[in-house]
């Protein structure tokens, strides 16, 4: 159906706008936000593309991507906060 293509185009335009924020973003947190938003929209795009090509098996990828996006955002934020990915949050997180 044509509506899938329209939705896919809308998602891609939205990704392009988020990419603009990632390039402009004055702080690095803006860039993380843009990366997170792009990840969420990619999940949507994978789902819609699965229906465009008539192969809904793509949804497994969407499931995994949504979880990876979450873990990736948290990992980058933790790295920004502590400068390392080692160690527990509860040990070094207090008093900062």
């Amino acid at each position: 159906m044509i509506i899938y293509a329209i939705t896919a185009i809308a998602i891609m335009v939205s990704i392009a706008l988020a990419l603009g924020r990632a390039i402009l973003g004055p702080t690095s947190y803006d860039r993380i936000l843009a990366a997170n938003a792009i990840g969420t929209k990619t999940v949507l795009l994978i789902g819609v593309l699965g229906f465009v090509s008539g192969r809904p098996d793509f949804l497994d990828l969407a499931l995994v991507y949504s979880l990876m996006n979450f873990i990736g955002t948290l990992a980058v934020l933790k790295y920004f906060k502590f400068g390392t990915l080692r160690g527990r949050l509860s040990d070094s997180g207090k008093g900062q």
């Binding site: 329209i6 939705t7 990704i15 702080t27 229906f51 499931l63 979450f70 948290l74 920004f80």
Partner: protein, 118 residues
Amino acid sequence: MIDLILDTTTWALLIAGGLLLLITGLGLLRLPDLYTRIHAGGMADTLATFLIFVGLALQSDDIFVTIKLLMVIVFVFFTSPTASYALAHGSYVAGLKPQLDGFGPPDAHADDEKKDAP
């Protein structure tokens, strides 16, 4: 007949979701500071995901596909607020202050930075 209703609903849901996504992208670009942009990003995480995936679920003729679509919605709804909170908290701890004044008419907005609940 039932197909026509399902198709129309899918069209409406997907177009609404696409519009919401475009508004989200616009918001990411034009809102003034990080904290307000987080709100715009949260819009795509919640309602746009819900609308688009429910619209797709109406079109699937396989029960497993429907379940997977609903499961993606649940995952996104569980993880996205946590990521948003981590981002907001991280930038707040890092000393990034939200821009709170300079919006609209000057008399309507004379709040302190922290206002206690009544």
